[in-house]
Subunit: 246 residues, 2 copies
């Protein structure tokens, strides 16, 4: 048995607003061998969560304001899309060459405030869940798994490429403090809070990336980090007053 093992949940259908996502995930998880259970972390791409929660907007219904039209013209974007991004943004940190780096209402710093145009029907855009930790807790309660992580794919300031991160979590410690641990020389390890929920999100994406198209991944081997009660991914957000890169 490997120390860590990951598998995509097979056969999840396209998710639409109002769908019973927990029911769809439970049915897909039952087809795993062994079936999805209390020893497992379930990592779910936020897009299906957002869709099930109705966090989508139809661009045809969006009336862009003056700021959205100006930004769209400057950066070669759809003004209606920019308006939706601004609606999700608490602070626009950078606008440069088509890139809008936003602090969302949750406090996340990411491109386009997490508003995504891809893989949706017609002209809709998909927003982040209103409260991704609440979304994770709801799935956690419904599914009987060890933990749920809700993920999104983000770029990084100084690195090319995107990696998957945790935007919501329940049942899993998002940060594990290894500062109490001692190294081989007995020295206290400094500055080693490990963002376990983010690493779990990244690991899950490796399974998903291979063209599987599956939004949900089961991760086995993380029960040492199960927290039982509520430990949201909000704890991963560095508050603006500690931010060196505004």
């Amino acid at each position: 048995v490997p120390a860590l093992a990951l598998d995509a949940l097979p056969g999840l259908p396209e998710v639409r607003p109002g769908d019973d996502l927990a029911g769809l995930l439970a049915a897909a998880g039952a087809r795993l061998d062994p079936p999805l259970g209390p020893a497992d972390v379930l990592a779910v791409a936020h897009k299906v969560v957002s869709k099930a929660e109705g966090r989508v907007r139809t661009l045809a219904d969006v009336e862009p304001g003056e700021r959205a039209r100006a930004l769209a013209a400057e950066h070669g974007k759809d003004a209606r899309h920019v308006q939706v991004i601004l609606d999700e943004t608490s602070e626009l940190l950078r606008a440069d060459r088509g890139r809008l780096i936003c602090r969302t209402r949750h406090g996340f710093v990411c491109a386009n405030a997490g508003v995504d145009q891809s893989n949706t029907g017609a002209a809709d855009v998909v927003l982040l869940p209103l409260d991704p930790d609440a979304s994770a807790r709801a799935l956690f309660a419904a599914l009987g798994v060890g933990a749920v992580v809700i993920t999104d794919s983000w770029g990084r300031a100084w690195r090319h490429g995107q990696i998957e991160v945790a935007i919501g979590c329940a049942g899993l410690a998002p940060l594990v403090d290894l500062r109490a641990a001692r190294d081989r020389d007995g020295r206290a390890l400094a500055a080693t809070m490990i963002a376990v929920a983010d690493e779990a999100a990244a690991a899950a994406d490796l399974v998903r990336s291979k063209g599987s198209g599956e939004p949900a991944v089961r991760v086995r081997g993380l029960s040492a980090y199960f927290s039982g009660d509520v430990n949201g991914a909000a704890a991963l957000v560095r508050p603006p007053e500690e931010d060196l890169f505004r």
Copy 2:
């Protein structure tokens, strides 16, 4: 067989300058079941690579200059440690409340230019490898594995906690371009270069974090991303001229 499976290499001894790291890794990898082989990615924490390559310094031999003494006094740090950090730094991006955020000579942006005080003998500090991609290529050539990723643990600008990233790699595509893929609606997926090497580094850390203390982790299931030839982690570095957060 899980789609992705990870195991720490057991029984690797403490590594010292001049040690044959490839030999030590091969011996430890042979103890895995099945043994380490050409279908595997080997993720190695840079610290053992740096130690084997002699990338350590003894603080007692460091004479701090004026700038290091000033920064150390301002931020409550050891001036000799700060001098070593400055020696590894091409640009000091931020110095704030004890945090020195540096661009290293490789172009990496990370705290303390990757200079690490923990888990080393006596007063030594451990530096990053001079050329982590070359270090990865050497292990790749010696071990007969599918790929090698050399990793370090970094903080993030807007997130609490550290995650493991790829600072060197060989045999694995560091970035996978999914832009050519189509979503379910036939729309081209935008901006989806996945930093597979970083996600593999993060996944490996989940095995290592559980107190195993093991620096090397075998990852199975990533052969779809094997590149055969040289694909270094240098491709993950966003050049300063594209940097929105200097």
